[in-house]
Amino acid sequence: MDRNDSLSPFDQYLASPQGAMSPGIPVFSPMMHYGTGLTLQPIQSTDDLSTLEEEQQQAVVATGQLSPKSQQATQEASDPTPQLFNSQPLTTAPLLGTTPLYPSPMTPMTPAIPASEMAELVPQLHNIVCTVNLGCKLDLKSIALLARNAEYKPKRFAAVIMRIREPRTTALLFSSGKMVCTGGKSEEQSRLAARKYARIVQKLGFPIKFLDFKIQNMVGSCDVKFPIRLEALVLSHQQFASYEPELFPGLVYRMIKPRILLIFVSGKVVLTGAKVRREMSEAFNNIYSILKGFRKTS
């Protein structure tokens, strides 16, 4: 194809596409460093073209490695059009300079996403499950009798269920002294809630310690803000994705165990199984680059 020929002199600067996910994805690999991925955009004004040509010449002159010169050229080009280029230092700067000149005829012209919008992809936490060891045996019966908001049905379940209103959480207290706390909306809230429960039990007369506080699971969600064609996603990612719309409206995407993502047609994504916030952000960014290829264009 014509497009491929014109790209060949710049192949040395292009990261090899690591398995293009679906037709219609632009030239760069979706698995690239995420900062660059979002700013691909076909250029629409002639001013930019001229700076790009200049840049290309510089790139040709360079020895085929990412040289600081071409990076600077990109930075220069980025000043007049800040919304098109990411201002962060880039590892694949020449790539940005070269790709937009050859927009694929198959690629839908996606609008430019400024760097600030990328920051909006911060996942919202909905639920955090944590455990802590209170360090001494607990007498569940007396706790249930003395504490308010405590429930204990030993025949059904061998733990006291306690709830507090601020932060709105629920805790399960076991006779071994271990406690599970759920419902916190952030790590700090979760820790605060666990301490509050520990304080309640302490006031009832038990020698409480606060050992091994650990977050076991975090549930978060975010919105990629475009509709997704789930049928195509399940077909191309069969080993990771399951989609049974009669049972559940979302697609279940298994990333590295135990992280699971639920992807919905509307563009909302729910992640469960992460233990730290960084894992969550990583997972969302990975899935964002994958999902862009399955955007439902109308």
């Binding site: 909905h126 639920n127 499950v129 049905k153 059904r156 379940f157 733990a159 269920i161 629920t170 399960l172 759920t182 419902g183 699971n217 549930v219 509709p227 064609r229 789930l230 049928e231 195509a232 399940v234 077909l235 399951s242 049974e244 719309p245 009669e246 049972l247 559940f248 409206p249 279940v252 699971i260 639920l262 047609v265 729910v270 469960t272 199984g273 439902k296 109308s298």
Partner: protein, 317 residues
Amino acid sequence: MNNTAASPMSAATSSSGRSTGKSISFTAELQSMMFSLGDARRPLHETAVLVEDVVHTQLINLLQQAAEVSQLRGARVISAEDLLFLMRKDKKKLRRLLKYMFFRDYKSKIVKGIDEDDLLEDKLSGSNNVNKRQKIAQDFLNSIDQTGELLAMFEDDEIDEVKQERMERAERQTRVMDSAQYAEFCESRHLSFSKKGSKFRDWLDCGSMEIKPNVVAMEILAYLAYETVAQLVDLALLVRQDMVTKAGDPFSHAISATFIQYHNSAESTAACGVEAHSDAIQPSHIREAVRRYGHKIGPLSPFTSAYRRNGMAFLAC
């Protein structure tokens, strides 16, 4: 013996005495379901009525057989084991059913992890609910498995071709849709018989049966009903594709006489009917599909009695 399996219409008329509950009709839902499975955007009402008849008859027969099996066991309810027993002959369909059951377990596990209230309820009701369906299936197949084939299915990772084809068809269908159509398509894909539990039970007239199915058995029946519809649509699409005579097709002269008869009747109705429905599945396609499915082709087919003993070739098992 051939004629009992060949025409669902005759079977339907014979069971019309039983179908006093014809006030319960799934026709509208079936039309949406067929759209989500590959039919045109507005499937024909007549086709949906016919599909409903076929599914209804087959499910009633299946239920009766399951009740017999259950009686043999001496149980008081029809449970998942009875249905699994009836399906033991067809490995591919059984595997699809097992995968469906495991996915149901998996989904409830995930949803529990997300919603804290669900988590607590589950803890309170006893934690033996995890993977309940998987346990039932595994225990049962363990007990009836003589040759080890059935248990091997649990480890089997082969691609299910029928499912693959359905996924590809859905992908092709949705590729050309715009957002509004796609939203409609997604809505129809969410339809299932299990969501309309009580209506489904009444439709099958479970109330008048001596031995009734339990909860897991109802889930499986809803799944089998959906599978039957899906199979019918798959086969009907194949039949419709066959009807289009392709230039250079070496077998076009070998089409059976009955097939041509259906084709001609379809043509005549289409000619005077609405041309806009030309891409929807016609009742003639469905009838031909059922006829072909029930027709055992092969050198010994007049002598085999395996399927003829009950007179009906089940599409779902």
